[in-house]
């Protein structure tokens, strides 16, 4: 049972990091479909640099730098040039998949089995192991798990107890009113996009150097969209997102366990769970709670409808 929870938390970490990070972008009014792109870039570059430098922290740094470049490009397209956010998202996802897979083939001899990179150490200090009940589980997680939890707590405070959080929410719900009150909506959206891509990349890194220690073409396999599903299922609230990410991560772990045991139930039925319960929830709950101007470019003093 403990092993199952350990695996579940390891699979929750990437989703939670990406989802909480993207919550900033969504709240500020940016529909960031490119979260899948940031995850695959983070997954690949952390693996690439960890492998060639033999140091996981250089890998982590590389993931962040790659994501910063992506964030600046995203900001230029989405915020400055006011391009259609969905078309941009679809395009950048295809680009990131194509680029990582191309560079991967250039740098590694694909086909000779997976070349393992060093991985992030598990935080198994004695004082963590000594925590009653959950010590055994927590000591098997990497630092990214703790980053995710800390980030979640910070996010709750920032979004709901600071003026910056109020401005972020205003930029998504009514950018014109926010603008009138002196909020720099484009700058705010730039910053929120940056937060989104950085934590998306860390989420990707949690998959490669945090968990599996190898890379595979398109290995994020829609986890960016699972993160979006977690945001929607979590009703755009940090604790809701945490709950959704836990459900999705655990169902993923369960699915893997089923495959190992070799039960006769097709594992795909478990992969469906995150998407299916999100859509079922949409049928049941009331009208959308998405920020009103989510996905719409901001025209200063202009028509935003």
């Amino acid at each position: 049972m403990n092993n199952f929870i350990i695996a579940g938390l390891a699979l929750t970490t990437p989703i939670l990091l990406a989802a909480i990070g993207d919550l900033y972008a969504e709240k500020s009014g940016v529909l960031n479909l490119g979260i899948e792109a940031s995850m695959i870039l983070g997954a690949y570059f952390s693996y690439h640099f960890a492998f060639f430098f033999g140091n996981v922290y250089i890998g982590l740094l590389a993931a962040v730098i790659a994501s910063l470049i992506l964030g600046i490009i995203s900001g230029i397209f989405i915020v400055s040039l006011k391009c259609d956010q969905v078309v941009y998202g679809v395009g950048i996802n295809i680009l990131a998949l194509g680029l990582t897979s191309t560079i991967f083939r250039k740098s590694f001899s694909v086909g000779s089995g997976y070349e393992k990179s060093p991985g992030l150490p598990k935080l198994d200090a004695q004082f963590i192991k000594d925590i009653p009940f959950i010590g055994g589980i927590l000591s098997q997680q990497t630092i990214l798990f703790y980053v995710a939890i800390a980030f979640l707590l910070v996010t709750i405070i920032v979004l709901y107890y600071t003026s910056v959080g109020l401005k972020i929410r205003a930029a998504g719900d009514n950018p014109n009113a926010a603008d009138t009150l002196g909020v720099n909506v484009p700058l705010l959206r730039y910053i929120c996009l940056m937060i989104s891509v950085i934590f998306g990349a860390l989420g990707g890194a949690a998959l490669t150097i945090g968990d599996l220690h190898f890379f595979q073409d398109g290995m994020t396999a829609g986890r960016g969209f699972i993160a979006l599903a977690a945001i929607i299922f979590g009703r755009y609230k940090p604790l809701g997102v945490l709950f959704a990410a836990l459900v999705f991560g655990m169902s993923d772990a369960f699915q893997l366990k089923m495959q190992v045991i070799g039960l006769n139930i097709p594992y795909q039925l478990f992969l469906i769970i995150p998407y299916l319960i999100t859509i079922l929830a949409l049928f049941v709950v009331g009208p959308s709670v998405a920020p009103r101007f989510n996905g719409k470019p901001f025209y200063r003093g202009g028509d935003n409808s």
């Binding site: 529909l31 479909l33 397209f77 400055s80 040039l81 006011k82 391009c83 259609d84 969905v86 078309v87 941009y88 679809v90 395009g91 950048i92 295809i94 680009l95 998949l97 194509g98 680029l99 897979s101 191309t102 083939r105 250039k106 073409d217 829609g222 969209f225 979006l228 599903a229 929607i232 097709p266 795909q268 039925l269 992969l271 469906i272 998407y275 299916l276 999100t278 859509i279 949409l282 049928f283 009208p287 959308s288 998405a290 989510n294 996905g295 719409k296 409808s305």
Partner: protein
């Protein structure tokens, strides 16, 4: 907001913008190819040779063209109605799943009944798959983009689950279906391995164009796409238009999957067509959201996809480079329009101040 209007350029720009974007994509990808130590011109020559250089190559290109064209037409129809149907991937998987099911189930049906039945089963499945995001958008105001992406994953995994259970060919180690029975296979054009599905593409394209130009419903689709609020004011039942457009789009999209199985592969496998539903989006946009432009774009992308494999074999440049070309083309087109718009509005504001 004028939905994706900038992709619907007029006159000369209709040709210039897509070509410029594609050149940009090939330039960007060419730089990456150069990093492989391969001359980009040699690589592109190999690509063209692979896709047009022989009868075999051309026929393979046309085979890639068919699913892209169906999927691209589905995207074009929905986009013109202001609906972001990104769910074509799932819709074509469901189309393939259900037409396979019909295609392996009945033994002694005459082809004249069996083929339409199989296509219709796939079409209805695709339509239902598209109905869900359409309904949630029209009735409850949920974002159809996210819902249709989620439906994609559900569709892909459902097909996998089906191939591991009731659709799995008996006694086989691999998760694939039995072969489509003879009476459900699409007839092939004499002297080629292309199925008659290629005619259906043109029938769909002409029908969509006809509806847009000459039918009230086509006008309503365009009106809702252009300005939803004004359409409501003008007495158009936008809820109905959105749902029907989406269902029609899913119906057309399903043919990408069903024609591929009934007309070519004759056996359903888990990864029988990967990413064609997503690639439909660049195809439709670079095709100017016009049915015939979409066909041209689909043919071009089909040539890229097909030629890339011979490029990989001859020069070792990975097939994934095609994704880079496509993505850069679509981003380049997006960026150029965005830049143009921004510069124009700056200039206008400056003129007003003077």
């Amino acid at each position: 907001m004028k939905f994706l209007q900038f992709f619907r350029t007029k006159g000369v720009n209709n040709v210039i913008y897509p070509i410029l974007s594609i050149l940009l994509g090939m330039l960007g990808a060419g730089i990456i190819i150069a990093f492989f130590g391969v001359n980009p011109f040699t690589a592109y020559k190999e690509l063209v040779k692979g896709s047009f250089g022989s009868i075999y190559g051309l026929s393979a290109t046309l085979q890639r063209f068919m699913p892209l064209a169906f999927a691209g037409l589905a995207a074009t129809l929905a986009f013109r109605g202001g609906i972001f149907n990104i769910g074509i991937e799932g819709q074509l998987y469901m189309g393939a799943l259900f037409s396979t099911w019909v295609g392996i189930s009945f033994e002694k049906l005459p082809a004249i009944i069996h083929i339409p039945l199989a296509l219709l089963a796939g079409g209805i499945a695709g339509g239902i798959w598209a109905f869900i995001p359409g309904y949630l958008k029209a009735k409850k105001g949920f974002n159809e983009i996210l819902v249709s992406i989620f439906m994609n994953f559900i569709g892909v995994y459902t097909l996998g689950a089906a191939l591991n259970t009731f659709l799995r060919a008996p006694g086989q180690g691999i998760p694939w279906s039995s072969e489509i029975v003879e009476s459900a296979r699409l007839p092939q054009l004499p002297g080629s391995d292309l199925s008659i599905g290629i005619f259906m593409i043109f029938i769909f394209a002409f029908t969509i164009q006809y509806i847009f130009k000459h039918r009230t419903f086509g006008y309503e689709i365009k009106a809702v796409g252009y300005n939803k609020d004004a359409s409501i004011y003008g007495g158009i039942n936008t809820t109905k238009v959105i749902i029907v457009t989406m269902v029609l789009s899913g119906f057309i999209g399903s043919f990408a999957g069903s024609v591929e199985i009934l007309g070519m592969q004759h056996r359903l496998t888990e990864n029988f067509l990967v990413d064609y539903g997503y690639n439909a989006i660049p195809v439709a946009l670079l095709g100017g959201l016009n049915p015939f432009g979409t066909l041209v774009a689909a043919f071009f992308f089909a040539a890229l996809i097909n030629g890339a494999s011979s490029m990989q074999i001859a020069l070792g440049v990975p097939v994934a480079i095609v994704k880079v070309i496509m993505a850069l083309a679509i981003l380049g087109s997006l960026g150029m329009h965005g830049l143009q718009k921004t510069v124009e509005s700056r200039r206008k504001r400056r003129d007003e101040q003077l």
